[in-house]
């Protein structure tokens, strides 16, 4: 159960990046999964260079996480600036193809630079205890859940309480109107990418500390699952992404208890198809109709 919640938390963190970008640009940022993957490798190398790997401390790990988040934020902003912004006015198909291109590029560059798989060191002590009979708690799950909750609380504050949050909501409502009201749309989009990418980096570090192995193709599967979560909750909706993430995580954990794990990937795909076909706006999303 807690296992499913922490898996869901990871999906939710990554899904937030998809949903925020979709909210502002109506773009499925296919490269987001790769940003997440690079977050994992950035954490690994940061931990190595700073010596946190040999000699892990809680502030050290937090510093590594912060570093990875900043690195990925910069990466996300760069991707938007170089690949997406020049195409802002062209057709959605073209932007989508570019996004796929960026995703493919990062994944293959990752494969060339990092190799097929690397192991991730143990940075925080891992224990397991049983406060109630039959209820197993793993420390990694607790860490994942608490960090996720803190980040989500921060994001909520950012979106609901700050100037930037208001600007972001305005842009997602209507980019043109927001621009006319004097909102610096380019900067808002840029920061949106930065925030989403930073959250993905945090998710990557949490996953890496739990699974102890990281791979250049982890962004493809992880990203896709998180995307499903975003769609499930209604893409563009921030609470939706959180709900979708937890829902998908719980579903996968519950079902893989009964079915062979090889079928687990099919659940995400099945949920995705089902939702899109029967409730295309997702659980909490709003539907839009083309104006005639």
């Amino acid at each position: 159960m807690l296992n499913g919640l922490s898996l869901g938390a990871i999906y939710a963190l990554i899904a937030l990046g998809y949903t925020m970008v979709y909210g502002t640009l109506q773009l499925i940022n296919f490269a987001h999964g790769e940003v997440y993957m690079i977050g994992a490798f950035a954490s690994l190398y940061l931990a190595r260079w700073t010596g946190v790997e040999e000699n892990p401390t809680l502030p050290g790990v937090a510093l590594v996480g912060l570093g990875a988040m900043i690195f990925c934020a910069a990466l996300g902003m760069t991707i938007e600036r170089v690949a997406y912004r020049p195409l802002r006015k062209s057709s959605r198909l073209n932007i989508l193809i570019t996004a796929i291109g960026v995703s493919l590029l990062l994944q293959n560059l990752g494969l060339m630079m990092f190799g097929a798989i690397q192991s991730f060191p143990t940075l925080l002590p891992e224990t397991q205890w049983e406060p109630l009979p039959g209820l197993h708690l793993r420390s990694t799950d607790v860490v994942t859940l608490s960090v996720t909750l803190v980040l989500m609380f921060g994001l909520h504050h950012l979106v609901e309480r700050t100037q930037f949050g208001r600007a972001m909501r305005a842009v997602s409502h209507s980019r043109d109107t927001a621009a006319m009201m004097g909102i610096p749309v380019d900067r808002v989009v840029s920061i949106t990418f930065a925030v989403g990418s930073a959250l993905a980096a945090a998710a990557a570090l949490l996953v890496a500390m739990d699974k102890h192995s990281i791979r250049p193709d982890m962004g493809a599967t992880g990203g896709l699952k998180a995307f499903v979560a975003a769609v499930l909750g209604g893409i563009g909706s921030i609470p939706g992404a959180v709900a979708g993430g937890f829902l998908l995580g719980l579903c996968e954990t519950l079902v893989s208890g009964y079915l062979a794990s090889t079928w687990r990937d099919a659940i995400a795909f099945g949920v995705l198809i089902f939702i899109l076909l029967f409730r295309p706006a997702g659980l909490l999303g709003r539907s839009t109709v083309e104006k005639v």
Binding site: A83, I97, G101, V102, L104, D265, L277
Partner: protein
């Protein structure tokens, strides 16, 4: 009489292919022949996707899934029943077409990126199903298939497929497909069921993808689910987009080039996917309509007198 000209051209081409197969291929480099065959089956998959993506404007990211259906249907049938492989190849195409119908009917009400994601999901589900079906070899693969894919069989299929797609494009149906791409609402206002039109394009595209997949199985004598993951779908999208959405010859040229280049330039084979991705991004930034845009080769060189449009 002039109406028969295109059949004449096709017949001459097929005769030439078999002549080459009999007198030239046995003496040519095995490695080169192999590349030419690969180009052939990639072209079959590409022309189907050109119809769906380029001419109908429907972004499918699951084309490799239909290749898988065709490949496994044809392969398993040939292996378990002993039917001739080229017959099962056609049946594989029909199985893929049926899969196209099943996937297309519900999904094609969606547009744009949602359609892309749903087709991607179906691609994934098809792979998971194959991996979990012992009859199809599961994740270990289906092995021991008859070796039936030759230069002649592959390229005969290419000629038939090319003629098929060309005739669809230059027909009332082809016009409807382009109308759907340009403006779906206006097309509906003409009393045309656009979902139906899109499904037709999807089914045709899936058929030729299925044939292409089947040829892969009979070339390697084996099939593995991993061969049909979604990076293959993206590879095909790259070929269509680079060649030009709204063109048939453009994607075919791009398909041949992107198949041959990594094979011929061994050092870059490792960077194949990097090359694709960079090409995709640069093309979108610099020339988003692709190599030929919506033109055909015949618009650029004065071939039209002999071949008609869309050769």
């Amino acid at each position: 009489m002039k109406h028969a000209a295109v059949y004449l051209v096709a017949a001459v081409l097929i005769a030439a292919i078999w002549a080459l197969d009999a007198w030239v291929i046995p003496y040519s480099d095995f490695y080169i022949t192999n590349i030419v065959i690969k180009i052939g089956y990639n072209l079959l998959a590409v022309m189907g996707l050109a119809l769906v993506l380029g001419f109908t404007g429907q972004f499918s990211l699951g084309h490799a899934g239909f290749m898988a259906v065709g490949a496994y249907a044809a392969g398993a049938l040939a292996l378990h029943t002993g039917l001739p492989p080229m017959l099962t190849t056609a049946i594989g195409g029909l199985a893929a077409a049926l899969a196209g119908l099943v996937v297309g009917l519900p999904s094609l009400r969606l547009t744009g990126d949602y359609l892309a994601v749903v087709t991607l999901g179906f691609n994934g589900i098809i792979i998971v199903i194959i991996q979990n079906t012992p009859f199809l070899g599961g994740a270990q693969g289906l092995i021991g298939l008859p070796l039936a894919t030759t230069f002649a069989t592959t390229w005969t299929w290419v000629v038939i497929g090319g003629l098929f797609i060309r005739n669809v494009l230059n027909s009332p149906t082809g016009r409807v497909l382009r109308a759907v791409r340009d403006n779906e609402i206006a097309t509906r206002s003409l009393g045309i069921n656009t979902t139906h039109a899109k499904v037709v394009a999807f089914v045709i595209g899936a058929f030729w993808a299925g044939v292409a997949g089947a040829l892969i199985g009979f070339l390697n004598s084996s099939l593995f689910p991993a061969q049909f993951q979604y990076d293959r779908s993206i590879e095909l999208v790259a070929m269509v987009v680079l060649g030009g959405t709204g063109s048939l010859s453009g994607p075919l040229i791009a398909g041949a080039a992107l198949t041959a280049l990594p094979e011929l330039l061994r050092p870059i084979a490792e960077y194949r996917m990097v090359l694709y991705s960079v090409l995709l991004i640069v093309m979108m930034l610099v020339r988003p309509t692709g190599l030929l845009g919506s033109r055909e080769l015949s618009d650029l060189v004065p071939w039209r007198r002999w071949f008609g449009r869309a050769v």
